[in-house]
């Protein structure tokens, strides 16, 4: 009763918010500061290059296209066996759900995740990546704002 009249329960709450008033905010000011994603982060997908930089590792087997739940990959290849290489490789990132099955299923490690995630675009076409665009360095599209 006395406790209730003295509003102890309310004062505990007030004390807690007052305490946090003097602690440092945890906000990360997004375009000015950025958090680095962890290594496993599933961002935009990229075609990996061979070690000798003579082209992409992809052998156009079509496993990724078959496995993709949202059917956003299109692959056409030429050549036979180990010489096989992709002629057409499209990923439609407007449909991609970033589940990572294509990267997981690829037998030669031909696809990899980047840490690029700022894919909000005015132009839908921009998100239709073809084979040339899939080999570019995604870093250049990252949004950076100077203070």
């Amino acid at each position: 009763m006395v406790k209730k009249a003295l509003m102890v329960d309310l004062i505990t709450g007030l004390r807690r918010t007052f305490y946090y008033f003097f602690t440092k905010p945890i906000t990360v000011q997004y375009p000015k500061e950025k958090l680095q994603p962890f290594p496993r982060f599933r961002g935009f997908i990229r075609l990996t290059q061979k070690e000798d930089a003579s082209g992409v590792k992809c052998i156009a087997c079509g496993m990724c296209a078959r496995e993709c739940p949202s059917q956003c990959i299109e692959v056409k290849g030429e050549g036979k066996g180990k010489e096989r290489y992709p002629v057409v490789f499209n990923i439609d990132f407007s449909r991609c759900i970033y589940c990572g099955f294509c990267v997981e299923v690829c037998p030669v490690g031909g696809l990899e995740f980047t840490s690029f995630y700022e894919g909000a675009e005015y132009d839908l076409e921009w998100l239709h990546f073809d084979i040339a665009k899939l080999q570019e360095d995604y870093k250049k599209w990252e949004r950076t704002f100077k203070k």
């Binding site: 509003m7 329960d9 918010t17 994603p37 496993r40 599933r42 099955f101």
Partner: protein, 398 residues
């Protein structure tokens, strides 16, 4: 003079007022009778948690009737399953209850494994339980955040999100996804945990109980919180069971029924935890249940970390053929998702794709008890009741 005023009033009524419009032929000032006011709450309303629509019949502010209208987020997940291979359906289960995607994966992969009789490596089991419990904490944190916000305590919202952010970081570390993790695979998990994960997770388990004190300071014994939750939206155990209420919502009515205990799957029978049961039957009891569950989940996570640290290395995925074809048959597997009993019923015709897949979504069943809870209460209590049964519309509409 009086005549003049009356004609003015009739003029106004003809132009239309919030009470209605006077039509030609209506008789003014005769047989005044009390009518229910029908209010549309949602699908765009700040506290219907997504796209839930409630049609309320009000007498003043008291609710006399209520209808729940759902289907605004219907995506046909069950039908989609019939056109995906068993493996391809995993990312879609993430999107059922998007606040606890590992728990959703868990139910699905367990059902498929039961169907095909796949033995999962023990390490994978522990990792799965660890992830599912983290998901439970994260889901309950979001529930507490929005529930408190609905009742007006907005600071709790941000404190909860601060801790939830830590869990999402843990998810990102292990799985690469923050919200939609897609971590579980048929026969195990996608890959082993990164080596720094367990330490970070332990750190979280140390911090978390202290942070729960923050929420308690603002809610637990606060008289405003108590007056808004105690004896509000009561539902008895019998009524709740009859309506298919499950999970924390029914445990708030004193029914000791937790699938992790009563029907153990995975390695839950080797873990030590208490089932949170309170018998207040009201919003406050459901709050207590979830609050305690968060702490218990934290304990389970600690035990999993301990086991994983003691037994490093080992397989995390059973051998499953690339072209996965389970035998002909049907199976039902239920797990304790953060919202309640999540069941997957799969009928297989021996092909790569399920013949039929039915999801028993906990939120869907829980939502049906909402009219029962709310009748006779005030509008403000509807908000508390919705919060207390913790619906996620992605799961309700599927």
């Amino acid at each position: 003079m009086a005549k003049k005023i009356e004609s003015k009033v009739i003029d106004v009524l003809k132009r239309g007022t919030p009470f209605g419009r006077l039509e030609e032929g209506d008789v003014f000032n005769e047989n005044l009778k009390i009518e229910d006011v029908w209010i549309n709450m949602g699908p765009q309303h700040p506290s219907t948690h997504g796209v839930l629509r409630l049609v309320l019949a009000l007498q003043g502010e008291r609710i006399v009737d209520m209808e729940v209208v759902i289907g605004y987020l219907h995506r046909g997940t069950e039908k989609l399953a019939e056109f995906r291979t068993y493996h391809q359906f995993i990312p879609l289960t993430d999107r059922l209850d998007y606040l606890a995607s590992p728990a959703m994966n868990f139910g699905y992969v367990l059902a498929v494994e039961k169907l095909a009789g796949i033995e999962v490596p023990i390490r994978a089991e522990y990792i799965r339980v660890l992830m599912a419990e983290l998901a439970r904490i994260s889901s309950h944190l979001l529930w507490l955040a929005t529930h408190a916000l609905d009742i007006g305590a907005m600071t709790v919202f941000l404190y909860c999100f601060r801790e939830r952010e830590m869990i999402l970081d843990l998810f990102e570390m292990a799985t690469g996804g923050r919200l939609i993790t897609t971590y579980y695979r048929i026969g195990g998990v996608a890959n082993d945990l990164p080596d720094y994960f367990l330490d970070r997770c332990e750190e979280f388990c140390e911090i978390f109980p202290k942070r729960v004190e923050d929420y308690d300071a603002l809610l637990y014994s606060n008289r405003i919180w108590l007056s808004r939750t105690v004896n509000i939206a009561k539902i008895s155990a019998e009524k709740g069971l009859a309506l298919g209420l499950s999970g924390p919502s029914i445990r708030g009515s004193g029914v000791n029924w937790d699938l992790r205990r009563s029907n153990p799957y995975s390695v839950y029978d080797k873990l030590d935890f208490e089932v949170a049961v309170f018998d207040g039957c009201d919003v406050y009891a459901r709050y207590l249940v979830r609050r305690k569950e968060m702490l218990e989940s934290c304990k389970i996570v600690k035990q999993c970390i301990e086991w994983l640290k003691k037994n490093p290395g080992g397989e995390v995925q059973a051998k499953v053929p690339k072209v996965f074809k389970p035998p002909v048959g049907e199976v039902y597997q239920a797990v304790e998702a953060p919202k309640g009993e999540l069941g997957f019923y799969i009928v297989s015709d021996g092909s790569q794709r399920p013949y039929r897949l039915k999801i028993r979504a906990p939120s869907f069943a829980n939502l049906m008890s909402l009219p029962e809870m709310c009748k006779g209460h005030l509008v403000a209590d509807v908000v508390a009741a919705i919060g207390s049964i913790d619906v996620v519309l992605g799961e309700v509409d599927r």
